[in-house]
Symmetry: C2
Subunit: 333 residues, 2 copies
Amino acid sequence: MRRPTIIDVAREAGVSKSTVSLVLQESPAVRSQTREAVRAVMASLGYVYNRNAANLRSSKIGLIGLVINDLRNPFFAEFATSLQMALAARGYATVISNTDEDAGLQAQVVASMIEHGVTAVVISPAFGQEEATFAPLKAAGLPVLQVLRKVDAGAFPFAAPDYRRGGLLAAEHLVERGARRIAFVGGLEGRAVTVERMAGYLSCLAAHGLTPLVLPGRASRAFGREAARRLASDHPDVDAAICFNDLVALGLLSGCAELGRKVGPEFRVVGFDDIEECAQSFPALTSVHCDIAGFGAEVAATVLAWLEDGTLPLPEVHTPVRLIVRASSGGVE
Amino acid sequence: MRRPTIIDVAREAGVSKSTVSLVLQESPAVRSQTREAVRAVMASLGYVYNRNAANLRSSKIGLIGLVINDLRNPFFAEFATSLQMALAARGYATVISNTDEDAGLQAQVVASMIEHGVTAVVISPAFGQEEATFAPLKAAGLPVLQVLRKVDAGAFPFAAPDYRRGGLLAAEHLVERGARRIAFVGGLEGRAVTVERMAGYLSCLAAHGLTPLVLPGRASRAFGREAARRLASDHPDVDAAICFNDLVALGLLSGCAELGRKVGPEFRVVGFDDIEECAQSFPALTSVHCDIAGFGAEVAATVLAWLEDGTLPLPEVHTPVRLIVRASSGGVE
DNA sequence: CAACATTATTGGAACGGTCCAAATCTGACA
DNA sequence: TGTCAGATTTGGACCGTTCCAATAATGTTG
């Protein structure tokens, strides 16, 4: 029960395999009558195109690799999903790999993707062992787009939302609302994303002569909950918090609910990323909107332009962000 | 700057391409000295295995297709991630496609996967147009595993957590705790998953002479929130709710918080799936634990056993579930 | 050291497409 | 009706691997 090949189709249709190939490629050279006849035979035989065979001769495989550091995080899941769907709409398939922040695993899955002949790679990298991942990509000469986090400056074009500005918007909003002791909660120290997201916060506080307070930690709900306790016990004077991301912020909300601490004008909380849940939580979470779905679609467009028209992407892109004000920071005035 | 092939390696190492091929396949037939020499040349030339070419001759491509109806839902994201990682650990790459419940899109991505030569497909299908998706899979003669939702009984082996039993456990727990007016919230009417999850609930209520109350709806946080309002206004006598899934339940918690309605012994809420967030919400959410990560790993093992040893999966598998009792249903007694 | 078993290695035909130069077919026009 | 340009179609080499039968190298033994 072998899959029929173009040769079977050709025999059945009474033409040569070259003609069948031309039909497959929608070549205008074949007579429409012939085209229809061949198409009919294909349908009746249940012919399926074999991309691997085609790729052997001319690399047009239409497979794109997507490497994600944490696919269970809704922010990355949303990004991966919107990117994958935008690619699918243009006929590309996507090999997705989660690395769980494991640089060794990342190097392995990237190697596997190269073996499978992906035509481009989009990667939100884990930290550490940059060479093990990036050297093979460089050697393969593939178009590679580094997104969401920059671990290897200059090696490959980079795109992400404008984290720095997001942090600034959040801090300015809180100061404007009257907060005077603003903490920055979550985010592992020293990492590029943390540094960026914190930079706007720090500069805003400096500009207003306020003292920063940083509680670094994992970007998880669990840490957010713990932070709520720590803030209440160790820093009761803190009247607002900017969280590294929404998971931390939502954990913080949950922790406050548990402690009976009211969130709103009394204690303002701002998240980062604006995942879908922000609008559904109670109180609804003010957050820096990164339009990650739009960002995913934009990344897809960038990759496809690179692949199909040879348009090189800009070395570094920061997409605009905006603050969505909801009840957790005191609401719209 | 062409990628080197086994022929280049062979020439450089002074052996035939067949020998290089044998080295690649870890054949015990090659002398270890030769093997080392060949390996050294590969490394120095930066040789990368071309799976497409290999696949042309013998189908061992190591690519598995995964089709998911809603990848943004944490439940499915967790499943996809754990399955993908288990496959990666065994050297397989995974092409993932989200369909957003669109059967037409699903048929399209499945066709694309077949073209790409996936060796097996795992699918959590969208509802509708079963033939468009399943007929090509059948025609391709691929191993296909239907998971999490059954839309096409009998066509392909099916595996899912034991939803029916989960519903039963949840209902029994609530009755035991003294709830007398128990609602079932969320889930689209008539769909297999809804029917299954509701069946245990209905039979338990019937056994205790209680009247069921069903509020069907989308499986989203937004619907859960709305349900909180509807329950409070239209059905004030309801003292407990079993939700179609955790998203609905978490939305319900959020809606109750907004209404100032206390969740716990006064109004018990149970979710379904036990996503990570359940333990972090306030109050912590009692939920039917499906061990979706373990389920993903198990599905991976099933597929690989099918592929590698020819072990046929059982036509229908229901993995065990258990109820995790937390504060939202009154907590551990 | 001949004879044979065993172990290593090899050439060449697949696999299913693409691509190109060459062959064939058309219809228009002199 | 012969000629020719343009439109169609075609044969065959090629892409990078696997696989198999055949050959070559090596070791063992009487």
